[in-house]
Protein backbone atom coordinates (compact mmCIF):
# COMPACT_ATOMS: atom_id res chain seq x y z
CA UNK A 1 0.00 0.00 0.00
CA UNK A 2 1.19 3.55 -0.68
CA UNK A 3 1.28 6.29 1.89
CA UNK A 4 1.57 9.98 1.05
CA UNK A 5 3.58 12.12 3.39
CA UNK A 6 5.98 15.01 3.47
CA UNK A 7 9.51 14.19 4.58
CA UNK A 8 11.79 17.14 5.24
CA UNK A 9 9.45 19.36 3.26
CA UNK A 10 9.40 17.10 0.20
CA UNK A 11 6.23 15.28 -0.82
CA UNK A 12 6.69 11.54 -0.98
CA UNK A 13 4.67 8.48 -1.96
CA UNK A 14 6.10 5.37 -0.35
CA UNK A 15 5.18 1.69 -0.60
CA UNK A 16 4.68 0.23 2.85
CA UNK A 17 3.49 -3.06 4.27
CA UNK A 18 0.70 -3.13 6.87
CA UNK A 19 3.14 -4.32 9.52
CA UNK A 20 5.91 -1.79 8.81
CA UNK A 21 6.84 0.71 11.45
CA UNK A 22 7.90 4.19 10.42
CA UNK A 23 11.49 3.49 11.49
CA UNK A 24 11.69 0.55 9.05
CA UNK A 25 10.33 2.67 6.22
CA UNK A 26 12.53 5.71 6.85
CA UNK A 27 15.70 3.67 6.96
CA UNK A 28 14.65 1.77 3.84
CA UNK A 29 14.16 5.14 2.10
CA UNK A 30 17.70 6.17 3.04
CA UNK A 31 17.08 8.27 6.16
CA UNK A 32 19.69 6.38 8.14
CA UNK A 33 20.16 9.20 10.64
CA UNK A 34 17.04 7.69 12.22
CA UNK A 35 18.55 4.91 14.28
CA UNK A 36 17.32 1.64 15.73
CA UNK A 37 18.16 1.24 19.41
CA UNK A 38 15.83 -0.55 21.81
CA UNK A 39 13.04 -0.84 19.22
CA UNK A 40 10.38 -0.43 21.95
CA UNK A 41 10.14 3.33 22.84
CA UNK A 42 12.58 3.23 25.77
CA UNK A 43 15.73 4.83 24.33
CA UNK A 44 14.57 7.67 22.07
CA UNK A 45 17.24 7.10 19.43
CA UNK A 46 14.60 6.62 16.71
CA UNK A 47 12.89 9.96 17.43
CA UNK A 48 11.56 11.92 14.47
CA UNK A 49 9.19 14.87 14.37
CA UNK A 50 5.66 14.10 13.25
CA UNK A 51 3.88 17.35 12.45
CA UNK A 52 6.54 19.05 14.54
CA UNK A 53 6.18 16.81 17.59
CA UNK A 54 8.79 14.23 18.65
CA UNK A 55 7.56 10.63 18.42
CA UNK A 56 9.33 7.25 18.58
CA UNK A 57 9.38 6.05 14.97
CA UNK A 58 10.04 2.46 16.10
CA UNK A 59 6.48 2.26 17.42
CA UNK A 60 4.46 4.28 14.95
CA UNK A 61 2.89 2.07 12.31
CA UNK A 62 3.93 3.50 8.94
CA UNK A 63 0.30 3.51 7.80
CA UNK A 64 -0.46 6.07 10.52
CA UNK A 65 2.04 8.47 8.93
CA UNK A 66 -0.14 8.81 5.84
CA UNK A 67 -1.03 12.47 5.34
CA UNK A 68 1.47 13.73 7.90
CA UNK A 69 4.72 15.66 7.88
CA UNK A 70 7.88 13.95 9.06
CA UNK A 71 11.13 15.67 9.91
CA UNK A 72 14.45 13.93 10.36
CA UNK A 73 17.67 15.68 11.40
CA UNK A 74 18.42 16.41 7.75
CA UNK A 75 15.32 18.63 7.75
CA UNK A 76 16.65 20.87 10.53
CA UNK A 77 20.26 20.88 9.39
CA UNK A 78 21.07 24.50 10.26
CA UNK A 79 19.70 24.16 13.79
CA UNK A 80 21.35 20.76 14.21
CA UNK A 81 24.67 22.32 13.16
CA UNK A 82 24.32 25.04 15.82
CA UNK A 83 23.56 22.46 18.50
CA UNK A 84 26.34 20.21 17.22
CA UNK A 85 28.90 23.04 17.54
CA UNK A 86 27.78 23.68 21.12
CA UNK A 87 27.95 19.96 21.90
CA UNK A 88 31.52 19.97 20.61
CA UNK A 89 32.50 22.97 22.74
CA UNK A 90 31.02 21.46 25.89
CA UNK A 91 32.45 17.98 25.27
CA UNK A 92 28.90 16.65 25.06
CA UNK A 93 29.66 14.24 22.24
CA UNK A 94 31.31 10.84 22.26
CA UNK A 95 30.00 8.18 19.90
CA UNK A 96 27.35 10.50 18.48
CA UNK A 97 24.73 7.76 18.09
CA UNK A 98 22.06 9.62 20.06
CA UNK A 99 22.78 13.01 18.47
CA UNK A 100 20.26 13.12 15.61
CA UNK A 101 17.35 12.15 17.85
CA UNK A 102 18.52 14.48 20.59
CA UNK A 103 18.80 17.37 18.11
CA UNK A 104 15.23 16.80 16.94
CA UNK A 105 13.90 16.65 20.49
CA UNK A 106 15.79 19.80 21.47
CA UNK A 107 14.48 21.55 18.35
CA UNK A 108 10.94 20.59 19.38
CA UNK A 109 11.64 21.86 22.91
CA UNK A 110 12.80 25.18 21.52
CA UNK A 111 9.52 25.54 19.63
CA UNK A 112 7.45 24.51 22.63
CA UNK A 113 9.29 26.16 25.51
CA UNK A 114 12.21 28.31 24.36
CA UNK A 115 12.83 29.61 27.89
CA UNK A 116 13.03 26.14 29.45
CA UNK A 117 15.07 26.04 32.64
CA UNK A 118 17.41 23.22 33.58
CA UNK A 119 14.71 21.11 35.22
CA UNK A 120 12.41 21.53 32.23
CA UNK A 121 15.21 20.57 29.83
CA UNK A 122 15.91 17.43 31.85
CA UNK A 123 12.22 16.51 32.02
CA UNK A 124 11.73 17.04 28.27
CA UNK A 125 14.76 14.93 27.40
CA UNK A 126 14.24 12.09 29.86
CA UNK A 127 13.25 9.82 26.97
CA UNK A 128 16.46 10.43 25.01
CA UNK A 129 19.10 8.15 26.46
CA UNK A 130 22.83 8.62 26.04
CA UNK A 131 25.13 5.83 27.10
CA UNK A 132 28.33 7.85 26.80
CA UNK A 133 28.24 11.29 28.36
CA UNK A 134 26.30 11.40 31.62
CA UNK A 135 24.12 14.25 30.28
CA UNK A 136 25.67 17.19 32.21
CA UNK A 137 27.64 18.58 29.27
CA UNK A 138 24.68 17.98 26.97
CA UNK A 139 22.35 19.97 29.21
CA UNK A 140 24.85 22.83 29.32
CA UNK A 141 25.05 22.87 25.53
CA UNK A 142 21.27 22.70 25.20
CA UNK A 143 20.81 25.59 27.63
CA UNK A 144 23.21 27.69 25.55
CA UNK A 145 21.37 26.70 22.38
CA UNK A 146 18.02 27.72 23.84
CA UNK A 147 19.48 31.02 25.02
CA UNK A 148 20.73 31.70 21.51
CA UNK A 149 24.41 31.40 22.29
CA UNK A 150 26.40 30.10 19.35
Amino acid sequence: MKIKCIINQKAKQIDVNNSDFLLDVLRREGYVSVRRGCDNTSCGVCTVLLDGKPIPSCSLLAMKADGHEITTVEGIQDEADKLGRLFGEEGADQCGFCNPSMALTVYALKKENPKANEEEIKAYLVGNLCRCTGYVAQHKAIKKYLEGEL
Partner: protein, 263 residues
Protein backbone atom coordinates in the same frame (compact mmCIF):
# COMPACT_ATOMS: atom_id res chain seq x y z
CA UNK B 1 3.90 -9.05 14.33
CA UNK B 2 1.92 -9.58 11.14
CA UNK B 3 -1.04 -7.38 10.24
CA UNK B 4 -3.08 -8.91 7.45
CA UNK B 5 -5.24 -5.91 6.72
CA UNK B 6 -5.13 -2.27 7.82
CA UNK B 7 -8.63 -0.81 7.75
CA UNK B 8 -9.37 2.86 8.31
CA UNK B 9 -12.83 2.99 9.88
CA UNK B 10 -15.17 5.62 8.45
CA UNK B 11 -17.46 5.53 11.48
CA UNK B 12 -17.59 4.26 15.05
CA UNK B 13 -20.22 1.76 13.99
CA UNK B 14 -17.94 0.36 11.31
CA UNK B 15 -15.08 0.12 13.82
CA UNK B 16 -17.36 -1.71 16.28
CA UNK B 17 -18.61 -4.14 13.62
CA UNK B 18 -15.10 -4.91 12.43
CA UNK B 19 -13.82 -5.40 15.97
CA UNK B 20 -16.53 -7.95 16.69
CA UNK B 21 -16.13 -9.88 13.43
CA UNK B 22 -13.19 -11.76 14.88
CA UNK B 23 -11.10 -11.95 18.05
CA UNK B 24 -8.08 -11.48 15.80
CA UNK B 25 -9.25 -7.98 14.88
CA UNK B 26 -7.89 -5.14 17.03
CA UNK B 27 -8.52 -1.43 17.34
CA UNK B 28 -5.36 0.65 16.95
CA UNK B 29 -4.92 3.60 19.28
CA UNK B 30 -1.50 5.30 19.32
CA UNK B 31 0.35 2.03 19.07
CA UNK B 32 3.00 2.80 21.67
CA UNK B 33 2.59 -0.64 23.25
CA UNK B 34 1.84 -2.49 20.02
CA UNK B 35 5.15 -4.30 19.58
CA UNK B 36 5.21 -5.70 23.09
CA UNK B 37 1.59 -6.69 23.50
CA UNK B 38 0.18 -7.92 20.22
CA UNK B 39 1.03 -10.93 18.16
CA UNK B 40 -0.62 -11.37 14.77
CA UNK B 41 -3.65 -9.35 13.79
CA UNK B 42 -6.14 -10.08 11.08
CA UNK B 43 -7.68 -6.60 10.74
CA UNK B 44 -6.03 -3.62 12.43
CA UNK B 45 -8.75 -1.00 12.74
CA UNK B 46 -7.62 2.61 12.58
CA UNK B 47 -9.72 5.32 14.23
CA UNK B 48 -7.59 8.12 12.77
CA UNK B 49 -10.33 9.55 10.57
CA UNK B 50 -12.98 9.71 13.33
CA UNK B 51 -11.78 12.98 14.91
CA UNK B 52 -11.58 11.45 18.36
CA UNK B 53 -8.78 13.75 19.56
CA UNK B 54 -10.58 16.61 21.28
CA UNK B 55 -11.35 18.45 24.51
CA UNK B 56 -14.95 19.54 25.04
CA UNK B 57 -15.33 21.61 28.15
CA UNK B 58 -18.33 22.98 29.98
CA UNK B 59 -18.61 24.53 33.42
CA UNK B 60 -19.35 21.15 34.96
CA UNK B 61 -17.13 18.73 33.10
CA UNK B 62 -14.47 18.10 30.51
CA UNK B 63 -14.82 15.41 27.88
CA UNK B 64 -11.64 14.07 26.30
CA UNK B 65 -11.70 12.10 23.05
CA UNK B 66 -10.19 8.64 23.22
CA UNK B 67 -7.55 9.36 20.57
CA UNK B 68 -6.21 12.42 22.38
CA UNK B 69 -2.52 11.93 23.05
CA UNK B 70 -1.26 11.82 26.61
CA UNK B 71 1.00 14.84 26.11
CA UNK B 72 -1.91 17.08 25.15
CA UNK B 73 -3.79 15.98 28.27
CA UNK B 74 -0.72 16.49 30.45
CA UNK B 75 -0.38 20.08 29.22
CA UNK B 76 -4.09 21.03 29.32
CA UNK B 77 -4.74 23.89 31.73
CA UNK B 78 -7.93 22.43 33.20
CA UNK B 79 -6.33 19.03 33.75
CA UNK B 80 -3.33 20.67 35.43
CA UNK B 81 -5.69 22.29 37.93
CA UNK B 82 -8.08 19.42 38.65
CA UNK B 83 -7.53 17.63 41.97
CA UNK B 84 -4.10 19.18 42.47
CA UNK B 85 -3.07 18.19 38.95
CA UNK B 86 -2.71 14.48 39.69
CA UNK B 87 -3.69 13.33 36.20
CA UNK B 88 -1.17 15.67 34.64
CA UNK B 89 1.43 14.46 37.12
CA UNK B 90 0.68 10.79 36.52
CA UNK B 91 0.92 11.21 32.76
CA UNK B 92 4.12 13.25 33.07
CA UNK B 93 5.83 10.24 34.69
CA UNK B 94 5.28 8.06 31.65
CA UNK B 95 8.44 7.45 29.61
CA UNK B 96 9.45 10.57 27.64
CA UNK B 97 7.68 13.32 25.75
CA UNK B 98 7.92 11.44 22.45
CA UNK B 99 6.05 8.42 23.83
CA UNK B 100 3.41 10.69 25.34
CA UNK B 101 2.95 12.31 21.92
CA UNK B 102 2.18 8.87 20.52
CA UNK B 103 0.24 7.11 23.30
CA UNK B 104 -3.44 7.97 23.63
CA UNK B 105 -5.73 8.08 26.63
CA UNK B 106 -7.97 5.52 24.94
CA UNK B 107 -5.14 3.06 24.48
CA UNK B 108 -4.03 3.61 28.06
CA UNK B 109 -7.53 2.82 29.35
CA UNK B 110 -8.37 -0.10 27.04
CA UNK B 111 -4.99 -1.72 27.63
CA UNK B 112 -5.96 -2.15 31.32
CA UNK B 113 -2.26 -2.49 32.01
CA UNK B 114 -1.52 -3.57 35.57
CA UNK B 115 1.47 -1.22 35.64
CA UNK B 116 -0.62 1.75 34.49
CA UNK B 117 0.00 5.01 36.34
CA UNK B 118 -3.08 6.52 34.76
CA UNK B 119 -5.80 4.05 35.79
CA UNK B 120 -5.63 4.57 39.58
CA UNK B 121 -5.84 8.33 39.01
CA UNK B 122 -8.84 8.03 36.70
CA UNK B 123 -10.50 5.77 39.26
CA UNK B 124 -10.19 8.25 42.15
CA UNK B 125 -11.31 11.06 39.83
CA UNK B 126 -14.45 9.00 39.23
CA UNK B 127 -14.34 9.40 35.47
CA UNK B 128 -17.04 8.11 33.17
CA UNK B 129 -16.21 6.27 29.96
CA UNK B 130 -18.31 6.66 26.84
CA UNK B 131 -18.42 3.55 24.70
CA UNK B 132 -19.99 3.29 21.27
CA UNK B 133 -22.19 0.28 22.10
CA UNK B 134 -22.52 0.31 25.91
CA UNK B 135 -22.89 4.06 26.34
CA UNK B 136 -21.61 5.81 29.45
CA UNK B 137 -20.08 3.53 32.09
CA UNK B 138 -18.34 4.46 35.32
CA UNK B 139 -14.73 3.43 35.47
CA UNK B 140 -15.19 1.01 38.36
CA UNK B 141 -17.72 -0.98 36.32
CA UNK B 142 -15.34 -0.95 33.36
CA UNK B 143 -12.43 -2.20 35.48
CA UNK B 144 -14.49 -5.12 36.79
CA UNK B 145 -15.97 -6.42 33.54
CA UNK B 146 -14.30 -7.66 30.37
CA UNK B 147 -17.31 -7.07 28.10
CA UNK B 148 -16.09 -3.58 27.30
CA UNK B 149 -12.89 -4.91 25.72
CA UNK B 150 -14.90 -5.66 22.55
CA UNK B 151 -16.39 -2.18 22.41
CA UNK B 152 -14.95 1.03 20.99
CA UNK B 153 -14.09 3.73 23.51
CA UNK B 154 -15.19 7.14 22.31
CA UNK B 155 -14.26 9.45 25.16
CA UNK B 156 -13.86 9.91 28.89
CA UNK B 157 -15.73 12.45 30.96
CA UNK B 158 -14.29 14.13 34.05
CA UNK B 159 -16.43 16.20 36.38
CA UNK B 160 -14.82 19.45 37.40
CA UNK B 161 -15.39 19.01 41.12
CA UNK B 162 -13.40 20.74 43.83
CA UNK B 163 -11.06 18.48 45.72
CA UNK B 164 -7.48 17.74 46.69
CA UNK B 165 -5.51 14.99 45.04
CA UNK B 166 -2.35 13.00 45.64
CA UNK B 167 -0.49 10.69 43.30
CA UNK B 168 2.70 8.73 43.82
CA UNK B 169 4.38 6.23 41.56
CA UNK B 170 7.51 4.52 42.84
CA UNK B 171 9.98 3.08 40.34
CA UNK B 172 13.70 2.37 40.24
CA UNK B 173 14.35 4.80 37.35
CA UNK B 174 12.13 7.32 35.56
CA UNK B 175 11.69 4.97 32.61
CA UNK B 176 10.79 1.87 34.63
CA UNK B 177 7.32 0.60 35.37
CA UNK B 178 6.12 1.39 38.87
CA UNK B 179 6.76 -0.98 41.73
CA UNK B 180 3.51 0.36 43.09
CA UNK B 181 1.39 3.45 42.50
CA UNK B 182 -1.21 5.13 44.62
CA UNK B 183 -3.82 7.82 44.02
CA UNK B 184 -6.01 9.64 46.55
CA UNK B 185 -8.70 12.26 46.08
CA UNK B 186 -10.51 14.02 48.88
CA UNK B 187 -13.79 15.69 47.98
CA UNK B 188 -16.67 15.13 50.36
CA UNK B 189 -15.07 11.80 51.20
CA UNK B 190 -11.89 9.93 50.40
CA UNK B 191 -11.23 7.90 47.29
CA UNK B 192 -8.14 5.66 47.24
CA UNK B 193 -6.85 3.42 44.44
CA UNK B 194 -3.66 1.39 44.34
CA UNK B 195 -2.12 -0.11 41.22
CA UNK B 196 0.89 -2.01 39.98
CA UNK B 197 0.37 -4.28 42.95
CA UNK B 198 1.62 -6.03 40.68
CA UNK B 199 -2.00 -6.68 39.71
CA UNK B 200 -4.29 -4.10 38.13
CA UNK B 201 -5.50 -1.06 40.05
CA UNK B 202 -8.11 -1.55 42.76
CA UNK B 203 -10.21 0.74 44.90
CA UNK B 204 -9.26 0.37 48.56
CA UNK B 205 -12.89 0.40 49.70
CA UNK B 206 -12.43 -0.68 53.31
CA UNK B 207 -9.71 1.94 53.61
CA UNK B 208 -11.97 4.60 52.14
CA UNK B 209 -14.76 3.63 54.55
CA UNK B 210 -12.39 3.86 57.50
CA UNK B 211 -11.05 7.25 56.41
CA UNK B 212 -14.52 8.66 55.94
CA UNK B 213 -15.34 7.81 59.58
CA UNK B 214 -12.15 9.28 61.02
CA UNK B 215 -11.93 12.63 62.76
CA UNK B 216 -8.25 12.53 63.58
CA UNK B 217 -5.59 11.75 60.98
CA UNK B 218 -2.53 11.30 63.16
CA UNK B 219 -0.45 8.61 64.79
CA UNK B 220 -2.34 5.44 65.69
CA UNK B 221 -5.35 6.36 63.60
CA UNK B 222 -3.23 6.42 60.45
CA UNK B 223 -1.45 3.22 61.45
CA UNK B 224 -4.83 1.53 61.76
CA UNK B 225 -5.92 2.75 58.31
CA UNK B 226 -2.73 1.54 56.65
CA UNK B 227 -3.23 -1.88 58.26
CA UNK B 228 -6.75 -2.01 56.82
CA UNK B 229 -5.36 -1.05 53.41
CA UNK B 230 -2.65 -3.70 53.43
CA UNK B 231 -5.16 -6.37 54.49
CA UNK B 232 -7.59 -5.59 51.68
CA UNK B 233 -5.36 -4.67 48.76
CA UNK B 234 -3.46 -7.89 48.11
CA UNK B 235 0.10 -6.87 47.28
CA UNK B 236 2.39 -9.41 45.66
CA UNK B 237 5.89 -9.87 44.30
CA UNK B 238 7.40 -9.76 40.84
CA UNK B 239 10.72 -8.79 39.25
CA UNK B 240 10.29 -5.16 40.21
CA UNK B 241 9.66 -5.56 43.93
CA UNK B 242 8.93 -7.99 46.73
CA UNK B 243 5.60 -8.13 48.50
CA UNK B 244 7.23 -6.82 51.68
CA UNK B 245 8.76 -3.82 49.93
CA UNK B 246 5.46 -2.97 48.29
CA UNK B 247 3.83 -3.09 51.72
CA UNK B 248 6.37 -0.60 53.07
CA UNK B 249 5.81 1.68 50.09
CA UNK B 250 2.03 1.61 50.44
CA UNK B 251 2.21 2.26 54.19
CA UNK B 252 4.51 5.23 53.66
CA UNK B 253 2.80 6.89 50.74
CA UNK B 254 -0.74 6.25 51.93
CA UNK B 255 0.05 8.18 55.11
CA UNK B 256 1.78 10.97 53.21
CA UNK B 257 -1.07 11.17 50.73
CA UNK B 258 -3.75 11.36 53.40
CA UNK B 259 -1.88 14.15 55.19
CA UNK B 260 -1.46 16.02 51.94
CA UNK B 261 -5.10 15.91 50.83
CA UNK B 262 -6.43 17.02 54.23
CA UNK B 263 -3.94 19.88 54.58
Amino acid sequence: MIINQYVIASSLEEAYQLLNESKKNKVLAGGAWLKLSVKDVDKMISLDRLSLDYFRETEEEIEIGAMTCLRDIEEHTTIKNLYSGILSSAIGHIMGVSVRNLATIGGSIMGKFSFSDILPVLMVMDVKLKFFHHGIVDIETYMNDRIYQRDVLESLIIKKDEGQGYFRSVSVTPLDFAMVNLAIVKKDGFSVAIGSRPGPALFAKDTMQALNKMHSFHGKALDQVTKICLDEIGLGKNLRASKEYRQVLVQTYLKRGIKQVIS
